[in-house]
Symmetry: C2
């Protein structure tokens, strides 16, 4: 499988493939501070919930190296790192992996040898990255195992939305991990990718990533999935998530809810694949997930040129929430919950956290 430097450590800096330029150019940037990494996350150099988590973790590490190089070991790592951590935390609001990664890194500022904090943070960031790749592989296997059998006359046809692939994770992908494992299981699959307006992650990233690995990919606009389902072209839908609430409601790229409603109408299974780091037990339901609104120009302009009439208002939510009742199965690295429900989700986290009141 093609491996991308989505967010990796490279010679003392955080290296990221600039996903805004794909598929027309493969350009890498190296970042040397938390502020720079936060800005790269905000500007969508890197995107995808698990990838944002990895990038933030490396952002913490690189900030610590920067602080030590500039001023030596600080009296308080917590104080010295506070501004950088705050910048990272505010970079984007919806993906919970960002906060999850920071919450996992932060205690290391207190508990280890102050001299070795930067190295310890880097090791943890690497650990997060490796765990994410392993989680994607596990999700792939578990998700592929519950896919329906292909129809007799053609390969299994899987619809996906946005990019929940190697480019959205440390590698292999969540939804695209399931699709990769499905190909391994069935020999061949065909993939339908929505273009995913306004940012075109489907056209630019998913189609490109899957073509690199030789998949049969058919692109369509977001508005065509209902007709494609009506025509019998889609057997199953597999998407990722940016935040899953305790009750199984899933925030994901804008449009996901629509595809889920259509899938239900056409009795097509709808799978959400995400690591436990995307599940936020502290958020009771989808109603409490903050939905980022992005710039109007993402809708009104194309490559800097206006395409819409002057004077229009714009509604540009980056995500929507698919209620648990429309999700056939939630696929995680620790197991599949079908259909999603709070007690089964809490049970995935182990016996302690499955007790009431500990989420």
């Amino acid at each position: 499988m093609t491996i991308f430097d989505v967010a990796v450590w490279s010679q003392g800096r955080v290296r990221m493939l600039d996903q805004r330029r794909l598929p027309n150019a493969e350009i890498y940037h190296d970042y040397g501070s938390a502020a720079e990494v936060a800005e790269a996350i905000r500007a969508m150099v890197v995107r995808g919930a698990p990838a944002i988590g990895c990038a933030a973790a490396f952002g913490v590490a690189v900030e610590a190296f920067r602080v030590r190089a500039l001023k030596g070991v600080p009296d308080s790592w917590v104080e010295a790192m506070a501004p950088g951590l705050a910048q990272l935390r505010q970079a984007r609001p919806t993906a919970v992996n960002l906060g999850w990664a920071l919450d996992r890194m932060a205690p290391l500022l207190l508990t280890v040898d102050p001299e070795a904090v930067p190295e310890r943070l880097l090791a943890e960031a690497e650990e997060i990255r490796q765990e994410d790749i392993a989680a994607c592989r596990a999700m792939g296997a578990l998700g592929a195992a519950i896919l329906p059998a292909p129809p007799p006359d053609r390969p299994l046809a899987i619809l996906t939305h946005c990019n929940a692939g190697a480019l959205a994770t440390a590698g292999y992908g969540t939804a695209l991990g399931v699709i990769r494992a499905a190909r391994a299981r069935f020999g061949r699959v065909v993939v339908y990718a929505t273009e995913t307006r306004p940012y075109l992650q489907g056209a630019r990233l998913t189609a490109w990533e899957l073509r690199q690995d030789g998949f049969d990919v058919t692109l369509m606009t977001d508005s065509m999935t209902g007709h494609a389902m009506h025509c019998g072209r889609i057997d199953v839908v597999v998407v990722g998530a940016d935040r899953v609430a305790a009750n199984g409601d899933a925030a994901n790229k804008i449009g996901t809810y629509m595809h889920a409603v259509l899938a239900r109408r056409h009795a097509i299974p709808f799978l959400v694949a995400c690591p436990l780091s995307t599940i936020d037990l502290a958020t009771a339901s989808g109603d409490h997930i903050p939905i980022e609104e992005r710039s109007p120009t993402e809708v009104t302009h194309w490559a800097g040129q206006p395409v819409a009439a002057d004077g229009v208002r714009v509604f540009n939510p980056a995500f929507d929430v698919t209620p648990a009742e429309l999700i056939s199965a939630l696929v995680t690295e620790r197991g599949v919950v079908q259909p999603p429900n709070e007690s089964a989700i809490r049970a995935l986290f182990g016996s302690l956290e499955s007790l009431p009141g500990t989420g």
Copy 2:
């Protein structure tokens, strides 16, 4: 109301506003033959079912003037006009108004004074144009009358898809005619317009047309309507149609079906506005409506530049079918049918055609 030269007679030629260039440029072209008009329809200089019907009617007239100027009055107008009529008929497959207009023009080739055929055809084309404007006004009044009352805290919010406006008709519009009449009824309305990929008729045409008339327009991508409905932003959906089958199934711009499914889920009324010329009693149901597939480059390219990965396949249907069961009301110039059903639709055409077997 702003009036556009969508398809009009101008100094012996057919004049059309080039809708491909809107909203960035207002450019008009004059066409002197059926072949040129057919190519303009195919290339989407003009689009929208009623507008295509008008353009085709003027295309027949201009062809007759061209033939007479070139060779004098032919022995057989039917023979002389056959190639031009065939080119027009094949220009686009889904909108039934094209064939309807040609079927209305064709008998005039036989029944009138051969010397005066061009003038008679032009008069009929003008009649079709004036009838369409009158039909739009009537639909507007009838449609606005059945809209729900605005909520107490804000103006009525109407979602529309694609462009079923003055630009899609001879003037005033079908869905946008209802919206214009709604403003007259309620004093103020707010309009949500989908951008309508891949051709962006919503962003380029609807937003522009409505802004010309001072409407409050909010643009969003096609993928955002479900979330907008979930947020309580939409009170009613009003769209046009390219062909309505005898049972009330309505073919309209790709994505319409999706919005209808979402509207039903959110208990939001879904109105289809179209003149009788769009209703095809010879087509029993939506399953029999031909769905045009257009060029892959509409999806993979933007202003000539590739945005999608190389090597992808493309699914690019221009229309989909909304089943009658999802349509709250069908609004025509002769009355409203709610919900659509075959006997009520046939009754609109008058007592003769409402008898079994005469459709």
